[in-house]
Amino acid sequence: MNILIVDDQKFIREAIKADLVETSVEHDLQMFEAEDANQGIETIVATEGNIDLLILDLKMNNSDGMEVINFLSVHACYSDIPLAVISSSDQRTLELVSSIVSSLKLNLVGVFEKPINVGFILAQATRLQNQYGNEIDVNESVNTSDYDINKLLEDEQVLLCFQPQINMKSKRIIGFEVLARMYDENGYIYPDTFLPLIDKAGLNVEFSMMIIAKAFKFWENETGVTNYRLSINVTAEDLICDSLIDYIISYKKAHTHINLILELTESQKVINQACVLNSIARLIINDIGISLDDFGKSYSTYERLDTIPFNEIKIDRSFVCDIDTNKQHLLIVESTIALAKKMSVSVVAEGIETESVLNILDELGCDIGQGYLYSPPIEGRYLKAWVNRYVHKDTAINEH
């Protein structure tokens, strides 16, 4: 077993080494040491990544552990080295580092507060390694390439679902978010599967156009829902396409009674382009609302707040769904709601599944809620019936 210890303090390295020798059941223990990030990286390269456990100090005298983490993340051949981060930083920093490392898809054994228990780290590493091996076996079956995305789009094998957005105070329906499904002769195909294929085929804008056109057509013909707000997802890439913007604006002009809001996702890179901001301005002038989707998920959201005159923030479901048990998420949601209040924009919380999450959001002053607690996405043909049931207080959530 090869173990690399990166720590600037010699006595810590010695202590870890001594503990390792004492706790490890393996006799063939080879230990490497490095006193800063550069030396650590050199050792990783020199051993060709043949490291079974990398113990990395986060804060060192003339460098920091993040350099090593970044190095592992950009060199795929090293990204599966089992990594144990050790630090004397506070709990919040440790959690932050832990979430960064997980999002970089590194093979994280854990983030450990000093003083550390080497035996525990070693046991954890061994246990995870066994699990890691099994997991790969199980995942091999997921195969997305058996769809001909061009053919599916050509045949318009697309279905619209709608998920309600509810005013948390009055319990009234505000509107619905359009969610697309595709299908073939075997069953439904979900966005996780088809969006990457559409992206790969370069058909993003065509797809958005199709969804928007179908949603418009549905909304104007479906009496009983037309008065609710229609919320449609667009990407910044869509906003570069003038013909799509023209289409949306001309539709809105022809149907002024339809309350339309676009939920905008996508990277900062595209958003800051002048033409995107120009499109957003045109939409707003024409009374089409802009909602910042997946708020909190991207690192650059605060910059977006600064540049885009939006009407609404949507907090991503990954933060919302466990605020009753996850303190970090609660803090993020709480401060996002406070921020929205200060900026006088409304805030939608996605991913509400339980009553306790609903109650917390309500106390925090969240305006609009969305999630499986109200309803899973509803297929267009059942929407009217759902609205009738909800309005007549007949759905589960409304019984209380």
């Binding site: 439904y188 599944e353 339980t354």
Partner: protein, 316 residues
């Protein structure tokens, strides 16, 4: 570990739907153009439909996806399960596919004592004398620590009442498969999935409230035939009980998870559970009735009335 998709022939699905289409068109006195106009008016899925396609559907040259079929059926106040389950040929074919799949070569039966012989199934309610011991075996297989309260001694038969356990036995009464499920409300189910309530509270709610979701807690068979058979039990339940709007799975069995993912069912969430210093993953799935019926494998399994699968079947 490869799960076999049934070697299905499109022909039967086509025949069933084309005869349905011809029938409703005659009954409603519609021309092909009239049908096209009606579908076009009723659903955006038929925006670009033409009479040529309708003619091809009726002659069985081509067939729309199950998703479209289901929309058409509903426009005529019918549903896919009705149409397909009332076609004897189709049901016959589906049941024989399940049985065939176990005879195919290389279909490894990894079980030490089960060698593809006859088996029988038995549905057990909590009052049944063997319920407790069979539930115990089922829970041991499933390994979901969240279900363990149901085997505590203090748990009364009464509190387990909403559970349905179906077990499959081969000769010598050896257990070769099982499925465990119950009908609850979606609201309670999401509370359960998020660990806000435990299994006994879930079952307690199931007794009082109008159920709208069937949740499968374990489903397993030693051969793919028995595995499919067990799945058909609850799919058939769902199909015949029209009050049930959703199908859900909450399982720690990675084999079942894999099977569902191969059937292209999206995972709703994974929640790690810590149990005796081990981390166990709890996988949840949820799909609407129309998603179930548009899934070819699930539709095929749902139309099989349970007694149809094996002549030696008893109990259901």
């Amino acid at each position: 570990m490869v799960y076999k998709i049934y070697s299905y022939q499109k022909a039967v699905i086509m025949r069933v739907f084309s005869s349905f289409l011809r029938k409703v068109r005659t009954e409603h006195d519609l021309s092909q153009e009239g049908l096209r106009a009606l579908l076009n008016e009723r659903s955006h899925s038929f925006d670009s439909l033409d009479t040529i396609s309708i003619s091809r559907w009726e002659r069985g040259i081509n067939t729309p996806s199950l998703t479209k079929q289901s929309e058409i059926a509903e426009i005529f106040d019918d549903d896919l399960f009705n149409i397909y389950s009332s076609n004897a040929d189709f049901v016959e074919e589906c049941s024989s596919f399940i049985q065939l799949s176990s005879c195919v070569k290389n279909d490894k039966v990894t079980h030490p004592y089960y060698k593809n012989e006859q088996y029988y199934t038995q549905s057990m309610l909590p009052e049944h004398a063997d319920f407790e011991s069979m539930l115990e075996l089922c829970l041991v297989y499933e390994g979901n620590p969240r279900l363990f309260p149901t085997r505590q001694k203090m748990t009364t038969t009464e509190s387990l009442k909403p559970l349905t356990l179906v077990s499959a036995f081969c000769s010598l009464n050896q257990l070769v498969g099982h499925c465990l499920f119950c009908k609850v409300t979606t609201k309670a189910l999401f509370e359960f999935m998020n660990s806000s309530i435990d299994i006994l509270e879930l079952l307690n709610i199931a007794k009082q409230d109008r159920a709208n979701v069937l949740v499968v807690l374990s489903s397993f068979g030693v051969s793919s035939q028995i595995d499919n058979h067990m799945m058909s039990v609850y799919l058939n339940q769902l199909a015949t009980d029209k009050a049930i709007e959703y199908l859900s799975f909450s399982t720690c069995d990675s084999k079942l998870k894999q099977k569902l993912m191969q059937m292209k069912i999206p995972m709703f969430k994974v929640k790690p559970i810590e149990h005796q210093s081990k981390i166990i993953q709890n996988y949840s799935f949820i799909m609407s009735r129309s998603e179930v019926m548009a899934n070819r494998n699930m539709l095929m399994l749902s139309v099989i009335p349970t007694r149809k699968i094996q002549p030696t079947n008893v109990g259901i």
